[in-house]
Point group: C2
Chain length 427, copies 2
């Protein structure tokens, strides 16, 4: 066996007990919030037909697909949940009660260079609403994100959500630089999403690339980048067509978020477009207020995806919320709780003659729902006591020949040192 094979593949994680307890704690919160919003949990295969993910819009996520040919099939590890969810909704659209409210807690895969907050796998909490065209759905989802942040103990203000509308940008561009070429809108979004990462000049280069899918002239490209600087909703309205539906929806969303009590933590930001080609309407992303980490979560409306995949049109909106960036923020803020191992009873038979009684006690206590470690060999008392303290047991049951002869075990409460005798068979 090579040394390499004895390590996890690069960018992937082992979860030892301490790591696992943190993961379980976080997943519990994801699920509690999903359930408190009356969403139902679902799952789809980790491995899908690659075709489900290979859109041709130049997205980073498609370049980073873990995909391979196997037994004449082209398969891929899912890089995101939305296409699988779409597939499941399409397959049962006739019988599902709309709106469908589903959430998932799943592992996703991307082959990419590793930087802080990014590995080659991560776990992601998704919530999606299918069948509801109005921003009441966006408002529920954004409220759920804040509910999760509250649950994990992040004080309000530490995380903000930036909100924009691709529909508003599209309406604005359609009366201007994209008037003749509406089909260039989705690839344009994929390019301008990189603004923060590659800067305005590189974005303009890509928007004006005559070989690219967008192909603007330089003046138009600069105008597009200019629009992204807007941070004031009313000013954005002035660039949009009169009576803009997208603007009305955006305004309504902010007013709904006021009712949810989260208005102070959401911001209009015209530069938010998100990197996925399928978004059509509201888009949003959560980020740490200090701005030192990657986006904590992101989402948006994708009303055309069902149709693109061959189903009937169904409006939809959702978000994905990863475990890695949030975990780093909790670490930076010192907000991970202590999550000690929980053992109620440690059962210690002094020797093999006491093992039968030890097994009977362990079986009885486990039947009562207690978490019981049975010592499997016959250590010295001293090692058993060290073990009891190390695993944080509440009680140690000591079974020596004297105790057995009286039908009892000696029980010590670890916290107080108090000792008592308990019958081996209380009936």
């Amino acid at each position: 066996m090579s040394k390499t094979a004895l390590r996890p593949p690069r960018g992937m994680r082992d979860f030892y007990p301490d790591d696992f307890r943190r993961r379980a704690w976080l997943f519990d919160h994801f699920r509690t919030v999903g359930q408190s919003f009356a969403f139902e949990e679902v799952d789809a295969p980790m491995l899908e037909h690659a075709e489900l993910f290979t859109r041709k819009a130049g997205e980073e996520i498609v370049d980073q697909l873990y995909h391979f040919e196997l037994h004449d099939r082209h398969l891929a590890l899912r890089p995101e949940m939305t296409p699988s969810i779409a597939r499941m909704v399409i397959a049962q659209a006739g019988s599902l009660r709309m709106p469908v409210r589903w959430f998932t807690v799943t592992q996703n895969w991307r082959y990419e260079r590793m930087t802080r907050g990014r590995k080659r796998e991560h776990f992601q909490w998704n919530m999606d609403v299918w069948g509801e065209p109005s921003v009441t759905a966006e408002a529920e989802l954004i409220a759920a994100i804040f509910s999760l942040l509250d649950q994990v103990g992040l004080p309000r203000g530490e995380v903000k959500i930036r909100i924009n509308s691709r529909a508003l940008l599209e309406e604005t561009l359609r009366k201007g630089v994209l008037a003749q070429r509406p089909e260039a809108f989705a690839p344009l979004c994929v390019v301008i999403d990189k603004l923060d990462k590659i800067g305005a000049d590189a974005v303009i280069d890509q928007l004006t690339d005559s070989e690219g899918a967008v192909g603007l002239d330089e003046t138009s490209a600069r105008e597009v980048v200019g629009l992204l600087q807007l941070r004031d909703l009313d000013e954005a309205a002035r660039h949009a067509p009169a009576g803009s539906h997208a603007f009305e929806e955006l305004k309504r969303l902010f007013s709904l978020l006021e009712a949810y009590g989260v208005r102070e933590d959401v911001i209009f930001d015209a530069s938010v477009v998100r990197g996925l080609a399928y978004y059509t309407g509201i888009v949003f992303e959560a980020f740490d207020a200090a701005g030192t980490l990657r986006a904590i979560c992101g989402g948006g409306r994708y009303d055309n995806l069902a149709q693109t995949l061959g189903g009937k049109p169904i409006p939809a909106v959702g978000f994905g919320f990863g475990d890695v960036v949030l975990g780093e923020l909790l670490s930076d803020k010192g907000l991970w709780p202590e999550l000690p191992r929980c053992v109620d009873d440690l059962i210690f038979p002094f020797g093999e003659s006491e093992r039968e009684a030890a097994i009977q006690i362990a079986t009885r206590l486990r039947g009562q729902g207690r978490r019981v470690e049975l010592i499997l060999d016959s250590p010295k008392l001293k090692r058993a006591m060290i073990d009891a303290n190390r695993i944080g047991a509440q009680r140690i049951w000591m079974l020596g020949p004297d105790e057995i002869s009286r039908g009892h075990a000696k029980v010590r409460e670890l916290a107080t040192g108090k000792e008592s005798e308990e019958p081996i068979n209380p009936d």
Copy 2:
């Protein structure tokens, strides 16, 4: 999008809400039992270096590996957890408190022909003990399996566990047909494991194949197959060398299982060897008493695996328990519980003027830990009532203009039809 890509890949499952609730119910039981035995949950990457799994002993599991070259790495979807667990134990053997008691609930992958109870992925509950050489560890694991069966409501007697010892077989063969060729023992086990599936003649053919790894003469091969017929422990002892350690351990295991109260549901069966090459000692498998399904779970001792993988020797024993066969048994017996969707409150604003109040109520109730569905559009009362019944809501909160003007909502208990008025803002 092709029709194919809109279905899960063959042998893999979508989990719609009803399916997911069953899965979650089963996983909860796996975890409850794991914790009640004071085992700690861990996880490793779904994707590992293929080398970790590609043993050269002719095992079916290696032939069925989902493996592929990607970015110059030879990777594989894990077909089983044991090698990953071994890798993790080896990496931290110096700092882990032995015995290590770990469990996992993970998805594993095998590319194979699909028959009843076998898909290309399944979820598996594993429990492993590392660092304990005595059968006290086997006894704990077998007791945990019965504890799970109890928890899911299978009456004692519906599932039996067959137990054997490869060490006993090895001792017996070493004084006889394998006296000169001890290295043939592991491949011999891989062959004789197929007895039920391919029959005695085919097993003898493979054992006597001069190109194969075993290469017995026919008399010896028939003697081996003869040994597998034994069902009586004392008779097995007569074939073993005098003072056989393996026999003593097997006897001790049965006596420990008596103390656990499961002696009536375990059987000595010399034909059980399990298909994995790495087992060295006790092996066992659970099966339905009617004998109509594949093995429900299987496990055994694998004291040499750590060393084989390049670590220091550490004795170890564990089992894997899949979700598919148990699920079929529960279906056959009608033992799956009703697992209805749980929603506490449905909030129904008659129109958009009542939405703000509806949001406030939903937010408050969710803050109290209730599971609350907020209606996102403005349906007729009739549809809202149908919805409330369909999702099994306990209460529906009705918010019309009259109620709002009085600062109240009308609340109906679905089970009784009882109605009351509740303040929108109780403070």
